[in-house]
Amino acid sequence: MGVDALYPEILNIFEALIVHVESATQYRTMSGLPCWYPASFSSDSSSTDPREFVQKSFFLQSFLHEAEEFWQSHDHGKLQSGLWSEPALMGDESYLEATALVELGQRFLIVQRYQPEMVTIQPVLQKARDNQLAHGQELEARKHVEAQLGTQLAESEQIRDDVIAVLDHLQLATVMIDESQVITSASPAVFQLFACDPQSLVGELWTHALPLKADQCRLVQEQIALPEIRRSSVAVSLQKQKKSWREVEVEVHEDPRDQRRTILFLKDRTEVEDLRRQLIGHAYFEKLIGKSPAMQDLYQRIQEIAPVDVSVLIQGETGTGKELVAQALHQLSERKDKPFVAVNCAGLTDSLLGSQLFGHKRGAFTGATSDHEGFFEAAEGGMLFLDEIGDMPLATQTTLLRVLQEGEIMRLGESRPRKVDVRVLAATHQNLQEMVERGDFRSDLLYRIRVARLQLPALRERREDIPLLSEAFLGQARVVTKKPEVCDIASEAMQALLRYPWPGNVRELKSTFDYALIHCHGTQIHLSDLPPEICGTPASLVSVRASPRNERKDILSALEEANGKRAQAAKLLGMSRSTFYRRLSELAISPEEQST
């Protein structure tokens, strides 16, 4: 057998259908039919005509159109169809590929079959596409998560912005600190408080970043160290800029999401405090109460006189608060950290008063068993308040004048003068000028003590203060009488208080509330709870001062009710002790009468 005769055998080995396309209708196989060739198209095994197969294959029919163009336009070369499967012809498991070949003007059609395992591109492509799908799904899932996170972030930011807006609206700044005391965030309202960029505080120790003084930091740190339930707010003053202070209330809270973190809530209370100070400043002055023009004028004058280191004469009816004014002068003066000594000059003999004021040496008089420091020495550096100076005996007035002129005192029984630095405040309900004219008061002493003068208004001259005073005295009386439930004054009772002329002035009003609270059995003071002189007597019929006969009777009744205790009797009558003693003297009520 020649080599040429081997060609068909060799071609058979490749199991390819090789067709010589002699014309559009004449096909001739150049080899035997391959084993995969569908039996249905070769019922006669000796037949090698592939036309039926070609005609039955939709793909080959289509490819032959393409191949025809190729054959016509090429002298040699090949055109491949790419893989195809056609289950109706070959079942599901076969892939075919056709090749149109032209060589030396001869046209050939070659069809090859591939088993699925021979299509090596399939698993590679399958894996690549599976990976791409998985990657796409992963990307999609990530996008979904990102979108969710974005939404959640936007919602969180919205909530945060809302909370910050609310906090800002409430003028509530927040500073969050971690367990290392480092600021992790600060709200925009911080700028309002500290005039600094809140972001610039982040990362700093709060004790350094916030303009708090060391003692203020300590107070806040103490709160941080406490359990949440025991914490309270801390009021601090912050210096925002030069001469610009903010009153800030600091509240310490744990971060509810992370207990290692702490939130400082800083509330700007400057405006509130300013308003409160203004309100208090107008209605209250030291221990004085009243917002009437007369009291406003008095407060103004006290502020003017207090810093000037001169003697002051305070004049006013009994119960108008002369001692309170003296205390206010002391508090507002540079001597506020030195003693304030009050002495009542009424009802004391010359020697007794002299001993009390200037002190005495042991043995200076009978009963002087030891050296005694007088009030002047006790008030060294501070103030001495001489109440009821109009009742001071003339001899004592003379000694006092010398003390005021020389700045020296001499204890009774001593010859050595002692230097004293005391500012003298004197008070009286009497007209000292008239007393001078009558010879009852030394004019030179008057001139010496009235360098500055204050005239206190009677309560009837400032009736608009009665509600304010009533509220204050009701509060005090509630405590004294242990009746916290009484918290209101009935309208008719207040009307009566407003009508009454108040001869005992503020002191009488205060006593009235002690009386009313004792008699009150509900939560409100009614007209019937007030003393009879207030609730039963029209204002026009109440005299400023009772007649001497009635007053004598009142004093004796009060003494009897107080078991002879003069201080208590004075209080019952709404008088100061000094006035009470003076009235005892003026009405010639003997010690025996007082005790019976």
Binding site: A88, Y95, I121, Q122, R129, Q132
Partner: protein, 170 residues
């Protein structure tokens, strides 16, 4: 075997990879569905006879491999098509872009033949990324726009039958 007197129409299945072309054909031809994705190599040719308006038709379905970066569809495969199904995966927005490219190739290769725009995987509607606004350009020239599910069979028969009707009457 098909009736030799039946009207024969070549219909191509076009779309990106894994949009469900093979599954749609399988559902239409055999009424079956497989969850497993098996990528198509080359072209798989199926056929189904159906009666449209009392006329026997043989649809020769050319399930062309899905186009992607690895395989580009050969224009020659499309030649001689009477129409095609352009398939989009409703759960993958990127299959819209491939559909646009294949539509352009189809116009170039087949001319203005009828096509049905099929948005497949309606059984996964909650995961869909596409909405009508996004495929309105593709839909504007389609003879039919249908949401289908090869898995449940929703719309599958209708898609092929309506396209066949268009091919017959068009």
């Amino acid at each position: 075997m098909s009736d030799p007197r039946a009207i024969q129409k070549k219909v191509c299945m076009l779309g990106g990879f894994s949009v469900g072309k093979t599954s749609l054909v399988k559902r239409f031809v055999t009424g079956q569905f497989s969850e497993k994705y098996h990528t198509t190599i080359g072209v798989k040719i199926d056929q189904k006879s159906l009666c449209v308006d009392a006329t026997e038709m043989l649809l020769v379905l050319w399930d062309v491999y899905g186009e992607d970066d690895f395989q580009k569809v050969r224009a020659s495969y499309l030649q001689g098509s009477a129409g095609y199904l352009l398939v989009i995966d409703g759960t993958r927005e990127d299959t819209l872009e491939v559909a646009h490219q294949l539509r352009a190739l189809a116009i170039q290769s087949m001319g203005p033949v009828p096509y049905a725009l099929v948005i497949n995987k309606s059984d996964l509607r909650e995961a869909w990324q596409v909405d009508p606004e996004m495929y309105k350009d593709l839909a504007s020239n389609a003879c039919l726009v249908l949401e289908t599910s090869a898995k449940t069979g929703e719309g599958v028969e209708l898609a092929f039958a309506e396209l066949a009707k268009q091919l017959l009457n068009g």
